[in-house]
Amino acid sequence: MKQRNEQLPPGIRGFLIRMGQIDRRWIYLAVAVAIAAPMLTRLRFPEVPGRMAQATFNAIESIPPGSRVLIAYDFDPASAAELEPMANAVLHHCASKGHRIALMALWPLGKQLADDAIRDILLEYHPEKVEGVDYVQLGFKTGNEGVIKLMTTSIAEAYAADASGKPITQIPLLEGVRTIGDFQLIASISAGTPGAQQWVQYGDSAMPDAFKFVAGTTGVQSSQLLPYYPKQMEGMLIAIKGAAEYEMLVTEKYPVTRSADRLALGRERMGPQFVAHLLLIGLIVLGNVSMLAARGWKGAAR
């Protein structure tokens, strides 16, 4: 390496070529600093709601108070950093609007995340809500898309009881509910399979006009799901950006007086995103300039 550096041309071209050969671990360190610094300084930027976040907000707003909403926690802690902020905001939005909420999970650990959300969001901001009347935790059910398929014909076949073991026939919120078509809106917070795509394929397609469907997705999964918007999905929240925009819409209309940080996670995480993206763009430009400089130097040497 030392020998190669000695052969490099002097001046800015040499510097640029050397930058192209930098040890990648310095880049990791730069990314760590770019993320840590805004987090510690609580750097935040105002969010302008996008079309999809607004559509999601409108879908939940458009159904009358008291409507039944099913929220599927189709993710686990590995994606919680990205999806938990939007799941929290959707839950608070539905509860604030007065909808009756059923929570379920197609991922085993989704049930625990939904339990946390009931404790930290639903009962924190809406302590008046009563289990079984205003909300119900159905829990995790194994079977992936098979569960959705089954719920299009009979929810009782998939969930004979809620997560606490109470038969669903004794739960007032689910009185008269036979299939997912008896819900007015379904929201899937999805990290992969099974998730939002399966809800479209097996749920929405089987009952296209029965309920509104919205989804919150990870950045990685979003390109798979974009074709479903807006025909098969009324709204879509894409990654932390979508969560931040939606959080802003929800907290503007339904502000909270305590523990407000739990509904600001998305916006908090956009600060480090911004700085890290600037760094990445800078590195991509630098890498290309360095490559061009090296190419020009090699051409001149030949």
């Binding site: 671990r25 085993p108 194994t142 990654a239 993206h277």
Partner: protein, 417 residues
């Protein structure tokens, strides 16, 4: 080559040393500054402890067997309604000690079975816990002083004293305590996180250990999930419900059709055993049959779903008007709605994109001339799509890193305000 290797071996340790020093300095300065800024213990964790009690009770048979009885609250009774059910052993269930059905006589305690008492521990946010502990201490101090009887009638004094005692009872029964167990958990999680991050510097034994733990724990976890969420409720509970209720799931509800459930459960049991036949030295072909069932079922399910959701609906969604108006209806357009430039461009772009990308994947014609140029445009559309997908992936991965940093800074180092 050997000279290169010698240079690398002499250069790498220096580079590593610099990196390690930079990391250590960065970490140490960060922690020191953070603790100066926001003093407090590391890995602080609190829980609210709630004591739960349950007693075993059984349904008291109704005095008459004519129809369903109704209790004082008007809800449907759990009492048996037919002669067969009367002869069956009474249904037993675990209920809270102050369950109203015990007082109303609908349920009675089973003699000789001890009361189950245990503590439920719910995590509490450290900042909130500190505030609550301070508030509880203050309340306890205020409430411990007896009510001043000056200027009060006897009734008023007794009412206030009773309210004070009740409030004191609530305060004393609320237990928010520091949880060393959870603190140790946070330390383990933090060290495991740093172990994974250490791979970024170079492969090392610490990383290998953490990686092995991750793989082992994941495998064990998924095995347990499959056992408890599939095998126990969907197979064992249908084949031997009484045994499962006695040993695994005390809350298992009785089936309405036990015979039918038993017979239906024999099918997956047989298919599962046939699938395991792969491991036998002979007759591996037997495992092909259950595989065929699995593949056939999934193919059938996915085919219909994909045709509807990913084929027909997507084709319909592509059929957009090339000239868009602010009102999507034809009547609106006729009534003089404004021309929508954005919608028009999006519609044209969508149609051009679909056609050119389809042409790119059409290999029956050589990609020359008009076909070649169209396919080239399709390549550009594909590249832009891949770029957007990469951008989303970067955003997602950075968020995951932010999530881990959030844990390290706030849960472990306690740097949250």
């Amino acid at each position: 080559m050997s000279a290169d290797r010698a240079q690398q071996s002499s250069g790498a340790p220096k580079s590593d040393t610099r990196l390690w020093i930079a990391l250590l300095i960065f970490g140490a300065v960060g922690i020191f500054a953070g603790k100066l800024w926001r003093p407090g213990p590391l890995a602080e964790a609190y829980v609210e402890v709630v004591t739960e009690t349950r007693v075993l009770a059984e349904v008291v048979p109704a005095p008459t067997s004519q129809g369903t009885s109704t209790n004082a609250q008007g809800s449907e009774s759990l009492a048996p309604t037919s002669l067969e059910q009367e002869n069956a052993p009474p249904t037993r269930l675990w209920v809270e000690l102050d369950d109203p059905r015990l007082k109303s006589g609908e349920l009675r305690r089973v003699e000789g079975v001890a009361t189950e008492v245990w503590d439920e521990r719910a995590k509490v946010d450290p900042k909130k816990a500190r505030e609550q502990i301070a508030a509880l201490e203050s309340d306890a101090e205020k409430l411990s002083a007896p009510t001043d009887p000056t200027g009060l009638t006897r009734e008023e004094f007794e009412a206030r004293e009773a309210a004070r005692m009740n409030a004191l009872k609530v305060v004393e029964s609320t237990r928010i305590v520091a949880s060393p167990r959870d603190s140790i958990g946070i330390w383990i999680a933090a060290l495991l996180t740093l172990g994974i991050f250490s791979f970024l510097v170079r492969d090392n034994p610490f990383y290998k250990v953490v990686e092995s733990i991750l793989i082992g724990v994941s495998a064990a976890y998924w095995m347990l999930v499959a056992f408890w969420s599939t095998l126990v409720p969907d197979l064992f509970a249908k084949l031997a419900p009484d045994l499962v209720r006695a040993t695994m799931l005390p809350g298992l509800a009785p089936s309405e059709h036990p015979g039918k459930d038993f017979l239906l459960a024999l099918i997956p049991l047989a298919l599962g055993m046939m699938l395991l036949w792969r491991l036998a030295p002979r007759g591996a072909w037997i495992a092909v049959w259950p595989l065929a069932v699995v593949i056939g079922t999934f193919a059938g399910m996915r085919l219909t779903a994909s045709i509807e959701a990913d084929f027909m609906a997507q084709i319909a969604a592509t059929m957009k008007p090339l000239v868009a108006y602010t009102s999507s209806s034809a009547e609106g357009a006729a009534a003089g709605s404004a021309f929508d430039l954005g919608g028009t461009l999006a519609g044209i772009l969508g149609v051009v994109g679909v056609i050119t990308v389809l042409v790119y994947f059409f290999f029956s014609l050589e990609h020359k001339g008009v076909v070649g140029k169209t396919a080239r445009v399709g390549v550009w559309f594909l590249m832009i799509t891949f770029g957007a997908a990469f951008g989303f992936t970067v955003m997602g991965r950075i968020t995951l890193l932010v999530g881990r940093f959030d844990f390290l800074f706030n849960d472990w180092l306690g740097l949250s305000p």
